[in-house]
C-alpha cells in the first residue's frame, strides 16, 4: 500500500490535506489543538529538511525564524489583513536568512551548526533588549486575534505548501543542485553549480516557511515573549523530528512530526521532565542505531521489492 502512494506524492498530499481540513469541525478542542501542533511541526520539519537534509548543513536557526515571524505578526496584526501578516512574517525571516546565510554559509559542519545556534541566541537577546529599552515591556499581548479555525486552516495551508515545495524542489534543477552540494560540494562547484547562490536561496526558502509558521502560531498564544517564541526547544525539536524521520526523505519527517506531537501533547503536561528525558534518549538511540531515520525502514523495503538491495 505504501509503495504506490509513495509514487504518487501529489495524490497522497491532496488526500491528506482534505482529511486534515475537516478536523476543527468534527473533533474536540483538544484533538484540534494536537492536530495544529502536528501541522506546525510538519511544516517546520519538512521545510528544514528541504534545505538542511539535502545539503547536510545542520541549521539550528529554526527558532530564530519562527520567533521573527511571531514578532512581526504581533506588531503588524492590527494594521494589516491576515494573509499579509503571514506573508510579512515569511518575508522578514527570509531577509534575515539571506543576510545570515551570506555571512555564515561558507562554513561547514560543526562550525555552521554552532554558529546558527549562536545567531539564534543573539537575535533572541537583541529582541529582548530592544523590547525592554524601546517598548518598555518584556512580552506583548495580542488582543484581536483571528478565530481558531482560521489559524488552523492557515497552518494547514503552510504545511501543505511546505510539502508541495519539498516535492517540487526535489524534482527540479534546484533540488539536484542542493543534493549535489550535500554529496560533494567541491564537485558540484566544478560541475558549474553556483553553490553560494543555491545555498543562500535554499536557506532563505527554509526560513520563509518557519517565519510563516511563527506568524500564524503567534496568535494562538495571545501572549508572546522572546523566551517563548525564540525557545531553542522549537529548533531542537524540528531538527530532531527531521533527523528521526530521515531528513533526506519527505514522508519521514511528516510521520515523525505526527508521532512526536502526539507524544508531546499527551506526556508533556503530566511529565514535563520525563518527556524531555525520553526525547534526549530517543535522539541518542536514533543517531546510534538509525542514523538515516525512520524513512530508511521503508526505503530499504522498497529497494528490496525492486530487487536492487542497496545498503
Amino acid at each position: 500500500m505504501k509503495v504506490p502512494l509513495a509514487n504518487r506524492p501529489w495524490l497522497t498530499l491532496g488526500i491528506g490535506l482534505a482529511l486534515a481540513a475537516v478536523v476543527p469541525w468534527i473533533a474536540s478542542d483538544f484533538v484540534a489543538s494536537v492536530a495544529l501542533s502536528c501541522l506546525m511541526y510538519i511544516a517546520l520539519a519538512t521545510s528544514w529538511s528541504l534545505f538542511c537534509g539535502a545539503t547536510r548543513y545542520l541549521s539550528l536557526a529554526t527558532s530564530a525564524f519562527f520567533g521573527l515571524g511571531a514578532y512581526s505578526s504581533a506588531s503588524l496584526l492590527e494594521v494589516l489583513p491576515w494573509p499579509l501578516v503571514i506573508l510579512s512574517g515569511a518575508a522578514v525571516a527570509c531577509v534575515i536568512a539571506v543576510v545570515m546565510g551570506a555571512a555564515v554559509l561558507h562554513l561547514r559542519g560543526t562550525y555552521f551548526a554552532v554558529l546558527t545556534f549562536g545567531m539564534t541566541e543573539l537575535i533572541r537577546h537583541a529582541v529582548t533588549f530592544v523590547e525592554k529599552q524601546v517598548s518598555g515591556t518584556v512580552g506583548r499581548v495580542l488582543a484581536v486575534v483571528p478565530s481558531n479555525e482560521t489559524v488552523y486552516l492557515t497552518v494547514l495551508a503552510i504545511a501543505g505548501a511546505a510539502i508541495a515545495t519539498a516535492i517540487a524542489v526535489k524534482r527540479s534543477r534546484f533540488g539536484l543542485a542542493l543534493a549535489g552540494i550535500g554529496a560533494d560540494e567541491q564537485r558540484a562547484q566544478t560541475l558549474g553549480v553556483d553553490t553560494r547562490r543555491y545555498k543562500i536561496a535554499g536557506f532563505a526558502l527554509t526560513a520563509a516557511f518557519a517565519g510563516a509558521v511563527g506568524a500564524a502560531m503567534a496568535v494562538r498564544w495571545t501572549y508572546i515573549e522572546p523566551a517563548a517564541v525564540f525557545s531553542p526547544f522549537i529548533g531542537f525539536q524540528t531538527v530532531l523530528i527531521a533527523l528521526i524521520g530521515g531528513a533526506a526523505s519527505i514522508g519521514g519527517p511528516v510521520v515523525a512530526a505526527i508521532v512526536f506531537s502526539l507524544l508531546a501533547e499527551t506526556l508533556r503536561l503530566q511529565l514535563p521532565y520525563g518527556y524531555m528525558m525520553v526525547l534526549g534518549l530517543l535522539l541518542i538511540l536514533c543517531v546510534m542505531y538509525l542514523p538515516n531515520g525512520l524513512a530508511s525502514l521503508w526505503q530499504r523495503k522498497t529497494a528490496a521489492l525492486r530487487g536492487n538491495g542497496h545498503d
Binding site: T110, V114, G118, F129, L240, Y273, M276, G280, P291
Partner: protein, 291 residues
C-alpha cells in the same frame, strides 16, 4: 574611575575568566582530540556543582576536600558516556564529517537527558551555601576568599594540564593524536584507551569547575547551558585543539565581559558574548592566535 577600581574590575574579569578557561579546556580536549563537539559539556559542570552542594549540605564535607571526588566521579561518568555512546557512533560513521554531525546530535540528546534528570531529582530552584565568604584585602582591592580560591585552583589545574600535555609521554601521545589520528595509530598509540580517558578528563575538569562555582554562586539545573556556550566561544577564540589558546581565550573573554558589562549594562552580557563569538567565527574561524 580610580586605579583601584580598574584593578578590581580587571581582576574580577580574570576570576570569571579562570572558570571559563577550565570549562573550555575540557571541551577542547574532547573536540580537538576526538572531534566530539560535546554540547552537553555544561550539564556535567552542573552535575559537579550539585554533587558538591549535596555533599556539603548533607554530610558537611568541605567543598575543597570534595574537589578530587567530583573530578573522579565526573571522569568515570565521562568514560561511561564515551563507551556507551560515542564509541559506537565512531564505529558506525563512514567519515569524520558524518561523525561530527552525529556526535553533535548525541550531545544534544545528552543535554536534554542530564538536565531534565537533574530537574526531576532536585527541582528547578536556585540553591547555594556559604563557604569562605568573608572578604579578603589584596593590595587595595577586596575580594571574597572563595573567589580567590576558585581562581587559584582553576589556573593551577589549567597550567597542570598544559604541563601534562607538554612534558609527559601521555601528553606527547595526545598531541600526536591531535595532529594526525592515523599517524598516531601507526606509531603504536592506542586510541581505544586514550579516547575514553581524555573524554573522561574533559568531563572531570568540567565537574571541578562546577564544584568551584557552587562555592561562589547559586546553582540551578539550568546553569550549564550558558557555560557550554561560553566554552564554545572560548575555544573558538583560542583555536580548536589548542589548550594554551583556551586558557588565554578564557581569561580574555572574562576581562572583555567584565569591561563590557561595566561600560554598557549587565543585561547585555550574553549579547556581548555572542557578538564576540560570531565576529570571531566569521573573521578568524581558526582562532585569534592561529598562524
Amino acid at each position: 574611575m580610580s586605579l583601584t577600581g580598574w584593578a578590581e574590575l580587571l581582576a574580577g574579569g580574570l576570576i570569571t575568566g579562570g572558570i571559563y578557561a577550565l570549562v573550555a579546556i575540557g571541551l577542547n580536549l574532547q573536540y580537538g582530540l576526538m572531534r566530539i563537539m560535546n554540547i552537553s559539556h555544561g550539564e556535567f559542570l552542573m552535575l559537579g556543582a550539585f554533587l558538591t552542594w549535596w555533599a556539603h549540605t548533607t554530610w558537611g564535607i568541605s567543598p575543597l576536600v570534595f574537589l578530587p571526588v567530583a573530578f573522579a566521579v565526573l571522569m568515570l561518568i565521562g568514560m561511561a558516556v564515551h563507551w556507551l555512546c560515542f564509541r559506537q557512533v565512531a564505529a558506525r560513521a563512514p567519515n569524520v564529517d558524518v561523525f561530527e554531525a552525529r556526535s553533535l546530535m548525541v550531545g544534544f540528546g545528552l543535554m536534554f537527558f542530564v538536565q531534565n534528570t537533574a530537574l526531576l531529582i532536585w527541582g528547578g530552584d536556585l540553591r547555594g551555601y556559604e563557604y569562605l565568604a568573608e572578604p579578603v584585602q589584596v593590595a587595595d582591592m577586596r575580594f571574597t576568599a572563595n573567589k580567590l580560591v576558585l581562581f587559584g585552583i582553576a589556573l593551577a589545574l589549567s597550567l597542570a594540564l598544559i604541563a601534562l600535555l607538554k612534558l609527559t609521554l601521555l601528553g606527547k601521545a595526545v598531541r600526536a593524536l591531535m595532529q594526525s589520528p592515523i599517524g598516531a595509530q601507526l606509531v603504536g598509540i592506542n586510541t581505544k584507551r586514550l579516547h575514553p580517558l581524555m573524554f573522561g578528563i574533559g568531563l572531570g575538569l568540567s565537574g571541578v569547575a562546577g564544584a568551584l562555582l557552587s562555592m561562589t554562586y547559586e546553582i540551578s539545573p539550568s546553569m550549564g547551558e550558558p557555560y557550554t556556550v561560553t566554552a564554545l566561544i572560548v575555544i573558538t577564540l583560542g583555536g580548536f585543539g589548542s589548550i594554551a589558546g583556551s586558557l588565554v581565550g578564557g581569561l580574555l573573554l572574562g576581562v572583555v565581559e567584565a569591561l563590557g558589562m561595566y561600560f554598557t549594562s549587565p543585561s547585555l552580557k550574553m549579547l556581548l558574548s555572542y557578538a564576540v563569538f560570531i565576529g570571531v567565527l566569521i573573521w578568524r574561524p581558526n582562532g585569534l592566535f592561529s598562524r
